[in-house]
């Protein structure tokens, strides 16, 4: 009896401060999310399954309102409360079920294990505080570090993200920096604790094209250095083709196609994926009118029994409207899957 209680003691002490999940991949399984607005209930995420391995970049592509950002917020545990609810599915980081964590444990996961870079570097920084304040805040939210120690870490991180004379810049206010520099700072803040997973929600959309390339390169470099998994959310296929190893195409809260990047660009199976590619500008396509996908994404407050893309799809048949296509592998290749009754077969 006494023997047993001494054995138990350390376990009890550990459970008082539950260890945040460590090493691992991010996996989302059959995730369903509901959003209760004042008059209607919307389903922004409908059975999404995907995973991000460490060291890998998964591009998540889709148009506005396809649920990309909602997915990121769900993973972060930052869904707007009390309006939203996870109806089903699991989100796991390594072996830990993220959705089952309580708020205080989740808080310790955020920033330290899963971090996020936002679209607007302008507004993601608090205008009242210096860059250094905002990095040290992130560090000190998770670690017991002295002010001076955190500041040193911040300077090192600023240097790492390519900010010139970081020892001076650390005392700059956000408005004193250019857009690209600000995004570098945002990245520095997000990565100062070396998270395992980075969610980058349109990290380059607000930047000049030249700066975009630099920022993407920076993210790739840091990813390799930290062996970090990156979920790159974007509507820009060009961005995805540059940095992602795999791509998931999202439409109306569903993953309609997922494949290794080169494979997807060579053999898009879903008509929506194909439409997205055709509506992208390319340098060798001058003079033509740009193709567009006719119509609009469906109203997610109504149940959609069949394929959500059916109303806009030129290949649609009666079956498409009635039955959701199952996940199908192209030529038996499990790395390339799509949901379509009438794949293009390219």
């Amino acid at each position: 009896m006494t023997n047993r209680s001494t054995e138990l003691a350390p376990t009890v002490a550990e459970s008082a401060t539950p260890e945040p999940p460590s090493d691992g991949r991010l996996s989302v399984e059959e995730l369903w999310v509901e959003l209760r607005l004042r008059r209607r209930t919307v389903h922004p995420i409908n059975g999404v399954t995907l995973s991000v391995e460490r060291g890998e970049t998964l591009g998540l592509v889709g148009e506005s309102g396809s649920g990309k950002s909602m997915l990121a917020l769900t993973v972060m545990g930052l869904l707007p409360q009390p309006f939203s609810k996870v109806l089903g599915g699991r989100i796991r980081l390594g072996e830990t079920d993220v959705l089952a964590l309580n708020e205080s444990t989740m808080r310790r996961v955020r920033g330290a294990q899963i971090s996020m870079v936002f679209q607007e570097p302008m507004t993601a920084l608090d205008p009242l505080f210096t860059v250094g304040d905002q990095i040290t805040e992130a560090v000190r939210a998770h670690r017991q570090v002295s002010r001076a120690g955190a500041r040193e870490q911040a300077i090192a991180m600023l240097e790492r993200v390519g900010i010139a004379s970081p020892a001076k810049r650390i005392d700059s206010y956000p408005h004193e920096l250019s857009g690209g520099m600000r995004q570098r700072v945002v990245i520095a803040i997000a990565l100062c604790l070396r998270p395992q997973i980075l969610l980058a929600d349109e990290p380059t959309t607000a930047l000049d094209v030249t700066v975009q390339a630099q920022i993407l390169e920076l993210i790739s470099d840091l990813q390799a250095e930290m062996n970090m998994g990156v979920l790159l959310i974007t509507h820009d296929l060009a961005v995805v083709s540059q940095v992602a190893q795999r791509v998931a195409v999202m439409y109306a809260g569903r993953i309609v196609e997922m494949a290794p990047t080169a494979e997807l660009f060579r053999h898009p199976q879903h008509p929506y994926t194909q439409g997205l590619m055709r509506s992208t500008l390319a340098i060798d396509r001058t003079g033509d009118r740009l193709d567009v996908i006719p119509g609009r994404p469906p109203d997610l407050s109504r149940p959609i029994p069949g394929c959500p893309f059916e109303p806009r799809c030129e290949r649609a048949t009666d079956r498409c409207a009635d039955e959701m296509p199952p996940e199908t592998a192209r030529d038996g290749d499990p790395s390339h899957t799509f949901r379509c009754w009438h794949p293009t077969g390219d």
């Binding site: 608090d126 805040e137 206010y173």
Partner: protein, 325 residues
């Protein structure tokens, strides 16, 4: 006398709505290349310098600040500077006009030195105005931030409380409290506190709601910054400009209220001299010895006008888009 409360509230509310966008505009300012070496130091100094320029360029604001500072200074140290005991009567020297018999502002109907009495009155006025307004600011800001940040049932409860509080006229609450506690400073201060926190709470709740949506708050959450710290560092500092502007107006309103309530005899009780009570006592002599009421009257007017000018000035500095209107 008390009806200005609501309109001030409305203008502060409009100001609150404007605020959210303002910081964005400020943040768009680019640093000129010359300042590139040490932009941090330059920008900090430039910002302070601009605030001073804005202050100095507006003469009325300057006057307002001086009056407000003098008010606070005299309110705290005035009784030490008083040339006479404010209670000392001398019927032989009753109703002396200003600048006669060693009394700069003259004497009242009982021969008491007007200057000493005004200085003592300022102390009471400051006590009600500044102390109570500060207390209501603290309570109101806390309630507003909590309601706005956490939302849900707590927000509903606090908002309901704000609406109920706001529905009661200040004078009614004050009279009820006088009925319960008896006339005097305590009832009056309690009444101002009980009502005015709601004004602050309402504005700061609105500010917080707007700030909550800002991406930097969401970014802080995404970094795992604890809620308490987010509120302390990313919400509260952004509400300071609005709170400051409101405070200057609310102090002025409290001063008017104190004077008015003492005038009808429910506030400060003799021999404590309140500005309003001095006017009330001097009424019977005003046709022969006008200074008995003009001295406290002008004092009240100066304080209130000064505080309002200061409030306008602060608003100009914090919200450049409203300038020159």
């Amino acid at each position: 006398m008390f009806s200005t409360r609501r309109s001030t509230h409305a203008s502060a509310l409009a100001l609150g709505a404007e605020r959210a966008a303002v910081t964005d505009i400020g943040a768009n300012v680019t640093v000129d290349p010359a300042a590139a070496d040490y932009p941090e130091a330059r920008a900090g100094r430039a910002r302070t310098a601009e605030a001073w320029r804005t202050l100095a360029s507006n003469k009325l604001v300057l006057i307002g600040s001086v009056v407000a500072l003098a008010y606070v200074f005299l309110g705290i140290f005035g009784s030490m500077l008083a040339p006479y005991d404010y209670r000392a009567q001398n019927l032989a020297d009753a109703l002396l006009p200003p600048f006669s018999g060693g009394h700069i502002l003259g004497t009242d109907q009982l021969g008491r030195d007007m200057l000493s009495r005004v200085l003592e009155g300022l102390r009471i006025s400051l006590l009600v105005g500044v102390v109570i307004t500060s207390a209501s600011l603290v309570v109101g800001a806390l309630a507003g931030v909590l309601a706005g940040y956490f939302g849900g049932k707590g927000d509903k409860a606090i908002s309901a409380l704000i609406d109920i509080t706001w529905g009661f006229p200040l004078i009614l609450v004050a009279v009820l409290l006088v009925g319960a506690l008896g006339p005097g400073l305590a009832a009056m201060m309690l009444a101002v506190g009980i009502i005015n926190w709601a004004g602050f709470a309402r504005i700061i709740r609105g500010e917080t709601l707007a700030l909550r949506q800002r991406e930097f708050v969401e970014a802080a959450r995404a970094l795992g910054v604890p809620r308490r710290r987010i509120i302390r560092r990313h919400i509260l500092p952004h509400t300071i400009p609005v709170a400051l502007v409101m405070t200057s107006y609310y102090v002025a309103l409290a001063v008017i209220f104190e004077a008015g309530f003492s005038f009808i005899g429910l506030g400060a009780q003799p021999p404590l001299p309140s500005l309003g009570q001095m006017i009330a006592e001097g009424r019977n002599y005003m046709l022969v010895s006008h200074w008995v009421i003009t001295v406290p009257g002008v004092t009240i007017a100066l304080i209130v006008i000064g505080l309002n000018l200061l409030g306008d000035g602060l608003r100009d500095i914090f919200d450049p888009r409203l300038r020159d209107r």
